[in-house]
Symmetry: D2
């Protein structure tokens, strides 16, 4: 009969085995990222920031990433759309600034499962096109069962160099990603597990291009996207007042896979 | 700021809202199912049955399902492959027989997330072909990133009628599906949540065909399937000694979505 | 060395072999079809009807089909969207009425190739969702690389019976599908082959539901759909003045695969 | 009514318009290519080389390509597997050496249609994984409806430099790709169009890695791949006697899109 080992960590299904927990586990991947930040209405955005956090700026950051050469996927690849807001956490023990993850769409299921269950990143599925590139134009489309809900466009204006690149590198080097890990009770309302998790992540930026970016959210009906429409429509309801930053980066992500911790 | 409501149930992301917990929630869907059960080696199969359970028979049941008209997906559809073994649970409080879920592959992410987090069904992703039908032959192929790992074949021999149909109907009417819900600790080995969950499910069989079935597992390397190879290879290592049952059913599944409970 | 056989018919690649030409070849498949016809502006629609044809009515017919149990695909399946207009052909030899095929989208490549090269049906690729069904509502979405360009909705009002069903059955029993087979010259403008092809097709309707239907075309930019935008935008430019017919049918298609002929 | 313009070139559907024929049309794209050549049995390979050609060496070349930044697809991308053999054409007018295209699999339909109809390249559909990269290992899997039929593996041994790189660059700079454009008669055996087409193609190699390569063909049944099984099984029947070359290249393809011509 199967019995889990004390010093192992597991994901469902457990009974086929897990891996020895190693706090030093490093995962690496290549990254091409297109990041667009925009100012929105503070009151509206605060509706989606949980109590205990302070919204540092009325700003939404949307980031497309194509990850390749992902070592834990034996060199496989996937795309994601990360949506976050800058926050300060005022806990009983912990006080820190970070990026609160509103939602992440990914086009492969395996990283969705690990991200949700191990670190509370609210990942869900969408089809995400690889970047279409007609230099200096870059574009991607995000959809669910054929229904477009987000398009991202970027026009590169030039290579970032010198001090600007240094600043950008240090900005991307470590990001305090924060997720809300929530596992519901079985057969009852409320949670069996409800924790905020800090997962420091970072990218070693190798090159970057500045430019102008734009994005468009399209509302969907429940018939078009029965399981995510309210998420998309909440984001679509936040006005894009002005684009604060648009940047395309190439680099390498080096993650301490076991480096997350619950914050209180 | 967002605050969860006491009588609601949520899935990540929480802060865009959830639904009022309603113990009477019913979900319905149409089902076309091809079920093949086979006898295997008891010793080998017991490696994957957790302590606390007794293996009632050295038997593996593999079931393809195509669900359509799924109400919580606004009429959408998906396919799954369910793999289980018949067990008896000897708990401190609960004593019951059921089908222990070894693994479930599904070709859509949304039901994977709910199944894992709400009821501990160990669902993971695969590409699953709709049934190819050249009457009386039926076949499907299951693969991961282009790597075939399971094929199922069925040749119908005739409609099930009379008492045989009645027996089959009552057999499918209620199944004690059991999952192991396991959520790992953050930044440490072991679990924050480790529970066995009983989720009674059933199908109202409307018609059924008996026949001969066969299946073939194909081992994969980590390069071919980095995240599931050990699951597939564990199942492939179980010899198919003889096929015990092969049946194709059409019907309707009516599930008490909130009817699961933790067993102890 | 390879030499084609005189009494064979081939598709590229030729050198791996073809099949003996058999004028009696029958192909069969199951069909679920949702057909919506609408009146539009005659002048605009005539822009897309070639000289030699007369537009019989300013009407566009859009038909979703899900084909299953396709015998030449060994029981496989695919979806299509057929767009046609009612015409009369005034040739030197042939005078006949039929449905001129404006374009067909299919979500599998194999039937696209045969349809284009064997019978001049202008098939191209799109992602086409299986019907989402929340009775009495039916819907599908058609997209290209994540960009929605057509949605079809239907609300069933009741079963078609009696004389109405008989009329509908005979209407679907044989349709004079007409395509324009056009193969360009190599290294020069113009065609090496330019023919109108008549391909009588039909469906044995088994049951039908009448109802109300609607559809919506969405224009796409070249960046969203570089190879089809002008087709979609041409169709989107035709106003939907009124929906003439909306019907959902179940049945079986029996096609004389070699029954097409060039009309002159 | 629609009438084609004399100096235009069209693809089906014709009536929505084509493009002015421009003999100087250049199309460009980025390319990552993994090429593996192997010696096989001359007698067996000659079965698939049409009369009029001489097989120059009993060698099969299999090449994976990932194309990105494809200008005619507005910066989109796709993958292909090209299979060819080295031949000499002995025509009435033309005498030349080239690569006879046995088959090409591509994972997008639009280039399949153009390739077949404009230049006789026998393109068909398959799912082709992007390269999985765990340096120095590279791998891809090719499948049809979940059934694996080709795997390619490469282990890089080092950068190609100096004269070796120059030789490789000139070898890739221009390739006499030859296809057999064949359009069947309608309603009769034989062809309406049967021509050999020369389409000079080339890649500007920017960097290259030599290494060891291997590939494995897997036979499929008609049930697994109803429309291509005989092609795959023909190729699988050719023994891989020894791998002659394995190289991974990065570069840019610059094609004279209208530079093909019929050879006689």
């Amino acid at each position: 009969m199967f019995r889990p080992q004390d010093d192992f960590t597991y994901l469902m299904p457990v009974h086929f085995g897990g891996g020895r927990f190693d706090p030093g586990t490093i995962v690496t991947q290549r990254s091409t990222a297109l990041t667009v930040s925009y100012e929105t209405e503070r009151d509206l955005l605060e509706n989606y920031i949980p109590e205990g956090f302070e919204l540092l700026a009325p700003e939404v950051q949307v980031s497309f990433n194509r990850f390749t050469e992902i070592d834990w996927m034996q060199g496989g690849q996937y795309n994601l759309i990360n949506v976050s807001a800058p926050v300060r956490f005022h806990g009983k023990k912990d006080h820190l600034d970070g990026a609160y993850t509103l939602v992440v769409w990914e086009n492969k299921t395996a990283p969705i499962l690990g991200g949700r269950e191990q670190t509370g990143i609210p990942k869900i599925y969408a089809d995400i096109e690889d970047l279409h590139i007609v230099r200096p134009h870059y574009a991607t489309t995000v959809s669910y069962e054929g229904n477009t809900f987000l398009t991202l466009d970027f026009e590169a204006a030039g290579e970032v160099t010198g001090q600007d690149l240094d600043a950008l590198k240090s900005g991307f080097a470590s990001v305090n990603t924060i997720g809300w890990r929530y596992i519901p009770k079985v057969g009852a309302p409320g949670a069996d597990l409800s924790q905020f998790v800090l997962y420091p992540q970072g990218m070693e930026v190798e090159s970057a291009q500045a430019g102008t970016g734009s994005l468009r959210w399209t509302e969907l009906t429940p018939m078009q996207n029965p399981v995510q429409y309210y998420i998309i429509n909440s984001l679509a309801s936040l006005p894009v007042k002005s684009v604060a930053q648009a940047v395309l980066t190439e680099g390498r992500a080096v993650l301490h896979a076991m480096g997350a911790r619950v914050i209180e």
